[in-house]
């Protein structure tokens, strides 16, 4: 076979650089002597955004603390223990140590008391309404989570039911507020009035239907007006609002229980409830984290509570009495705050609310995420 020379491959001549064509960003930068590549730009942009998120938290804490300083200086620790919230000055006759009015030259001596701010009623309100919400929501949520994990997959309803329960979470809180105000409050008013008629005479339940007031120097006992707008209604609405979050997180935590655990209990002859109880016990820290997440949401919730809780800034033990939470206090009074000190006291309440919510969130995430990390590491 005659050897043929390898064919000459004709390469096209290199294209001359056209000044109109778009040049690479990096080559433009190189021509100008800058060592700035798109890599560095994106790296710094994204790093800056992450720092911005850190900065957001720091700004939140710093700005609120600075704005609360006048109130902190004026009231100190008594802010947390005093029950008196009075944004206005009070003129009253001065009373001597024996309780009688002091007379000078035949006239009453009027003293002016400065505004007094104490956050104990709203701290009490937030604590009790959140506790009521959890009391209502936790059994329902755990039951629903067990249903979703153990029963629903077998009858193929887990996806629709999960979707419906998560749809509860998407409803804005003002919708809950309006529903509560116009539907739940009249219903509860009817229920409470009939309870009042039937149970008010029972000696052990006296505290539920009567409250004691300080009028002048004497204490008076008055029946609580059953308006339906009270702590009970606030707790119920909050409970409905935290149902989806506790259910969703509990469902995720319970579905992470290894099948071997459940099958082991069943092999030992456990009933359905006994093996479910074992599941609950196994994931108790994750469930506790779910409850804390619900608590964090319940304590920070504003609009629904403001509309149904009655806005009475006093500590009354009965669940049928109107109350006030920290967030509803802020929603009601902040836009109409009468003085710098009033506003500063409100910002101090906001700071307490923020720190409380941060503490719950951090604890919840540590419990839920920590448990998952430990489970993942163990398997």
């Amino acid at each position: 076979m005659p050897a043929t020379a390898p064919a000459q491959i004709e390469l096209p001549p290199p294209a001359p650089p056209q000044s109109r064509r778009r040049r690479e960003w990096s080559s433009i930068m190189q021509d100008r002597g800058l060592r700035l590549s798109s890599d560095t730009v994106l790296s710094w942009l994204t790093r800056g955004s992450s720092l911005a998120i850190l900065g957001m938290l720091v700004t939140l804490l710093v700005v609120l603390t600075i704005a609360a300083v006048p109130s902190m200086k004026a009231y100190g620790l008594s802010f947390l223990t005093s029950s008196e919230w009075r944004p206005n000055e009070l003129e009253q006759p001065r009373r001597g140590p024996d309780g009688k009015v002091v007379m000078e030259d035949g006239e009453l001596v009027i003293e002016t008391l400065p505004p007094q701010f104490g956050a104990l009623p709203v701290i009490y309100g937030t604590a009790v309404s959140s506790a009521l919400a959890l009391l209502f929501a936790v059994p329902l949520s755990l039951g629903a989570a067990l249903f979703l994990v153990r029963i629903a997959p077998r009858i193929k309803v887990s996806a629709p039911v999960s979707f419906l329960i998560e749809f509860l979470a998407a409803i804005p809180s003002i919708a809950y507020g309006i529903w509560g105000l116009f539907v739940l409050v009249p219903f509860l008013q009817g229920v409470e009035m009939s309870l009042h008629q039937s149970l008010a005479h029972v000696p052990g339940l006296h505290w539920m239907f009567y409250s004691t007031l300080q009028v002048g120097t004497s204490t008076v006992e008055r029946p609580i007006a059953m308006t339906g707008r009270d702590m009970l209604c606030g707790g119920l609405i909050l409970g409905i609002m935290v149902l989806p979050i506790i259910t969703a997180v509990s469902r995720d935590v319970l579905s992470a229980v290894p099948r071997a655990q459940i099958e082991g209990t069943q092999a030992l002859g456990a009933t359905w409830w006994q093996s479910s109880w074992e599941m609950l016990r196994y994931s108790r820290s994750g469930l506790f984290g779910a409850i804390m997440l619900g608590l964090a949401r319940a304590s920070g919730e504003t609009m629904a509570v403001t509309m149904v809780i009655g806005n009475n800034n006093q500590i009354v033990l009965s669940p049928f009495a109107p109350a006030q939470t920290m967030s509803s206090l802020l929603a009601n009074e902040f836009a109409e705050a009468s003085s710098e000190l009033h506003r500063s006291a409100l910002v101090q309440v906001a700071l307490i609310l923020l720190l409380m919510s941060l503490a719950f969130n951090v604890a919840a995430r540590w419990l839920v995420v920590g448990k998952e990390a430990r489970t993942a590491a163990a398997h």
Partner: protein, 268 residues
Amino acid sequence: MFVVCVLFTLTILTILGLVIGYLIWIGAGSLSIKFFTELPSGKVADPGGMKHALIGTAVLIGLASLVGIPLGLLAGIYLSEYSREWWLASPVRFISDVLAGVPSIVVGILGYELLVVPLGRYNGWAGAMALAFIMVPIVARTTEEMLRLVPHSYREASLALGATKARTILRVVLPAATGSVVTGIMLAIARVAGETAPLLFTALGSRFLTTNPNLPFPSLTVQIFTYATGPYPEQKRLAWAGILVLICLIFVLNLAIRLTARSVRVAK
């Protein structure tokens, strides 16, 4: 006990049914075309409509998205792509989660102190920035989750072909996750559309149609709150109609989110 769990689930579904049912039933009874086309008339017996509030909410969400979405996207890209380079990534992730749980009224107070006090009056910028504050952690976390779902082989192939890291992220990873990232953004918008508390003392709310953010700005949620807690029954009916519109908006957004997510998974 088995029966108890089923009963509890049915109770939750009944509560959901009661809430949604009443909202749709009473809302539908109060809704009319006047709601969308008229401005508040100032008359007690015939309060007009909420056109100003609808436009106000749209403008506020638009302004908030202008700031919140880019910031959240970039932070999410950092958390998913660059997290191995710096020790600060996991604290930022944690703090991002924690920030998402801050009560929205506290965010409103921050907006007041930072943007209302210096300017001397309630304005729409403060409201929009308060909403952006709420949006950023949500967008960052969902972007990070969605970008993490993109298979590593995409990145490795792109880097093997000689692309820089920035080009890999912008031209390969982000387009692969576009549907999911848009889902996250819509989630944030749905959340922010229903927020009332941050707007209460930043934008304050107004009865007038305005598109100037330097003035007190109307919004659907604050207007509903004002009408619902007021004494006039006609205004309360308008508040019900507003709630129905708000819920429909959020429901449509959630539906769009689910459809987009499903189509993204099918496409892969």
